[in-house]
């Protein structure tokens, strides 16, 4: 081993001796050690407002008093200006696909997500940032950046104070949004013409 620095050490090369009770047995080569973190989240004022509005099929954002940008979900502060937000803005449940991803690998414990499925950043009409959601009622291969979508909500009797009330986003059939990356990155007034 001293002669060849690249040779694996004996213990890792499998050059080990074992007691008789172990010698004849099929060797264990891997072990599953799952890690779980179960937590309770306290939403605070801004997200509480947002979640209560969700139960009424309304989407609330908040406006930055310095830049005019509208953030959703709201956190009560502007991440860019570092100030508390200036006011609540009700947003439409329509918008466009800003970017998207097609998942082809299933997730354990999420049998409801059947691959292939499309998750996307949706920029809501009136918002300055993307909002995560599934694009549904269209083949994932047909999803494109700029595609106009609207929210598909749970039935009224199933609404909760949760963003899970939005089952996904389906195409509206309107013409695609023309996206100017430079304009989008620095957008001061998110109001649509």
């Amino acid at each position: 081993m001293a002669d060849d620095p690249l040779a694996p050490p004996a213990a890792l090369a499998g050059d080990v001796t074992v007691p008789p009770a172990v010698a004849g047995a099929e060797p264990v080569q891997s072990v599953c050690t799952p890690i779980r973190l179960s937590y309770t989240y306290t939403p605070g004022k801004a997200l509480s407002r947002y979640l209560r509005a969700m139960a009424e099929r309304r989407i609330l954002g908040e406006r930055c008093g310095v830049t005019g940008q509208v953030f959703v979900p709201p956190r009560g502060v502007s991440p860019l200006a570092g100030t508390t937000t200036a006011g609540v803005v009700e947003l439409a449940d329509t918008g466009y696909v800003d970017s998207f991803n097609i998942t082809r690998v299933p997730i354990e414990r999420r049998p409801d997500l059947k691959p292939p499925y499309c998750s996307a950043w949706i920029v809501l009409d009136g918002a300055s940032v993307g909002f995560m959601g599934l694009v549904i009622n269209i083949a994932p291969e047909e999803v494109r950046i700029g595609m106009r979508v609207r929210a598909v909500w749970k039935p009224d009797d199933e609404l909760e104070t949760s963003a899970a009330n939005i089952l996904g986003w389906e195409p509206t059939g309107e013409p695609d949004e023309v996206i100017d990356d430079y304009e989008r990155l620095g957008r001061a007034d998110p109001g649509r013409a």
Partner: protein, 140 residues
């Protein structure tokens, strides 16, 4: 809930230890000076020399230190209060962390004797040892 279903490769030394657990034996590994580390390590913690000689150790041992766990959490070895303990098995020179099934802290003491309790269904995992039972000194 956040969850990551990690699968780790065990390598020949830890793999042999886990294989032993599945077969109902506990293995340590011998250092150059003859002392035995249990659980086994791939390297000597003092000299960094690779270690390769796995040996069987006893299934009973001595509690070196312990802490009472009065409020067990999900996934812990026992759903009633129990003790975590460092247990030096007979034939080993180092100690293993595991659970001791005692009814109360007053049943625990440093130096007490304990014996491994095996699960019936074993898969090559540290939990193949369900825990350790106190051994009545008069009967052992």
């Amino acid at each position: 809930m956040l969850e990551y279903p990690f699968t780790r490769s065990t390598g020949p030394v830890i793999g042999a230890f886990l294989t032993g657990l599945r077969e109902g034996v506990i293995c340590g590994i011998r250092r150059a000076d003859g002392t035995v580390l249990c659980p086994p390590l791939e390297y000597d913690p003092l000299t960094a020399e690779p270690l390769t000689e796995l040996v069987e150790v006893g299934q009973s041992g001595e509690v070196l230190t312990w802490a009472w766990n009065g409020e067990p959490r999900p996934m812990q070895p026992f759903d009633r209060p129990f003790a975590w303990a460092l247990i030096r098995l007979d034939g080993a020179d180092t100690s293993m962390l595991h659970a001791v099934f005692a009814d109360s802290p007053s049943d625990m003491s440093t130096g007490m004797r304990v014996r491994a309790v095996w699960r019936n269904e074993r898969e090559g995992h540290i939990a193949d040892i369900a825990g350790f039972d106190p051994v009545d000194a008069d009967l052992s």
